[in-house]
Amino acid sequence: MGIRRGHRAHPGEWLAEKFIFLVSLTAILMVFLIFAFVTREALPLITGEVSSAAVQPVIPVADMDKIPAEKLRIYLELTPSQFATMDHDTKKLLMETKVEGAQDAPDNKDAKINTIEWRYLLFPYQWSGYDKPVYIWQPVSEIKKYNIIPIVIGSIKTTLIALFFAVPLALGAAIYVSQLASPKLKEYIKPAIEMLSGIPSVVAGFFALIFMATVLQKVFGYESRLNAFVAGIALGFAIIPVVFSIAEDALTSVPRNFTQAALALGASRWQAAWQVVLPAALPGVFAAIVLGFGRAIGETMIVLMASGNASIMSGNIFDSARTITATIAAELAEAVFGGDHYRILFLIGALLFLVTFLTNMAGELVMNRLKGKLEGKK
């Protein structure tokens, strides 16, 4: 049975095709749903509806019946339907918890500050007990300090180390495999490098935590055993296969006649690869790096295990670092649901999502334009 041109789709094929179409639609829908969910949880923060101040104004329980119902509802943080169905005694219990909360509040000059305002999230502030304005991430504390700059820096630091380590290696391998290696050697090297991506990140993290940290400390002699450098190197291993396979794809898709023309003009194989093929595939190489960046900044397990997770404001790569992903993974489990800490974690989650989404999109766009160009469409 051969394939006939333009034959009518079999009902089964038609069904399968529509099914696959639906599946691809769900993927897009999922991306939107996740983003909507994450931002919805963070929304009250962005609009500034809630206050995290440790000391909140308190209404004495005895005054409960004197204040207007709507004011009481807002004070007790109830939705209108909850408020309507709740009986008087329950409301009284809620009033009591408010008073207890106020009694527990710390005696501190910062206790009235709403620490989830943007200026406290992004800029340094001199908290009581500190001798200068600082960037501090201490979400579990008398005065909850949610400055996200230290963890943003931690994320950027580990990601950049990973890129500096992985990109030269992966690009070198991609050039070698696509241009210089004999076809037989290529058959072995390519799957071997791509096999790296099959290592579960928790295993890679474990390896970094127990083995690499000790070895690297002996070699470089720095003080803190777990730090951004160790995490970055381990992360590098995770992104090498990503950068390699995309870069290799881009280099291979450069038409063979480019190389042949260069060789005919007397260039060596190396010159042809370096001066003709690589520049032609440069947008693809750029896309590979961008996608590697997206993968590295979103990776969680490796950095959680190997970076030491101290939220230090420091540019030193041998200091411990705390990343956005590790912060979310480590803290979400204990945050009070719907509380400020919980919402801040969703906020940085949304931020991370946006960054990876945009970098991935940029990578894909550049890659597509390159393909178009090489195939002579533009």
Binding site: G101, I136, V140, N309, M313, A333, E334
Partner: protein
């Protein structure tokens, strides 16, 4: 639509109560091993009762308690006012709090460190970053590396409240996922110091703790912790919706606080409740 939901909820509730003898327990990872051990022994004695224990953290436990997806909530800290308020909104009553065990926290250093004892004030200086070198607290000239727990841990909060007196941990404190990880790190780091449950000891040594400069240095033994002379200890809690605190669940709660239940506490490495807090 609301009515439909309500009926559905009612149906779920009735099926749940029809399966009486099924107890779900959720919450603190600190209490997880103990809770599993309790469940195992209790189920061995009561073949018709099934107890499901899961961890996740005290916060997860409280969230499940207010969503009424768990019967009991294990917690290594007291419920926060916000969590109590959420429970009241969900089931119109405060959750009942039971103290179920005592945990003494040890402070660990490397076995090669000459330091044997520290006072609470010195510990606070070390962990807030005021003392950066061991010579500041009478040790050798060696920088101090701090190992702390994740801020999601009840142990972290307890240490911050009772040893640091509410001050912040130094930003340079590295956070480890558990007590075992802290001990592993301290055992590899001559300048390291960390804290954790009293149950784990190998690879690092624990320090004797002084309440202040003039008081004696105390070893975290069972006797000292229960007497209250060792200064860093806490209760572990179980919270329950008072409407459920009867029948099988009530019996179970009584049992874990009885002499028999408290014997298991000791086997797992925590300390049993003093006699006046036990049930009969």
């Amino acid at each position: 639509m609301k009515k439909l939901l309500f009926i559905a909820a009612l149906a779920v509730a009735t099926t749940a109560s029809a399966l009486a003898g099924n107890i779900t327990v959720k919450g603190s990872d600190t209490l997880l091993i103990l809770a599993q051990k309790w469940a195992e022994v209790y189920m061995g004695q009561h073949a018709d009762t099934k107890i499901q224990v899961t961890g996740g953290g005290s916060g997860i436990g409280f969230a499940a308690l207010q969503n009424q997806t768990t019967d009991l909530c294990d917690a290594s800290r007291k419920a926060k006012p916000g969590e109590i308020a959420n429970c009241i909104k969900a089931f119109s009553a405060r959750p009942t709090e039971y103290k179920v065990a005592v945990d003494g926290l040890s402070v660990y250093v490397n076995t090669e460190s000459p330091i044997k004892e520290l006072s609470l004030a010195q510990l606070s200086d070390i962990f807030t970053g005021k003392a950066k070198n061991w010579k500041d607290v009478g040790g050798p000239d060696l920088p101090i590396t701090l190992y702390s727990r994740e801020n999601s841990s009840g142990t972290y909060e307890f240490f911050k409240e009772h040893v640091l007196k509410g001050q912040d941990f130094a930003a340079s404190a590295q956070t480890m996922p558990g007590t075992a990880a802290i001990i592993q790190a301290v055992s590899k780091d001559k300048g390291g110091i960390g804290y954790g449950g009293a149950g784990y000891g190998a690879g690092a040594k624990h320090l004797l703790i002084k309440k202040d400069d003039n008081s004696p240095a105390i070893d975290p033994t069972e006797e000292n912790v229960i007497k209250g002379t060792y200064p860093i200890w806490r209760y572990l809690y179980v919270y329950v919706n008072p409407a459920l605190d009867k029948g099988e669940i009530g019996t179970y709660l009584n049992w874990i606080r009885s002499d028999e239940g408290q014997k298991i506490v000791k086997d797992v490495g925590y300390f049993p409740l003093p006699a006046n807090l036990r049930s009969n």
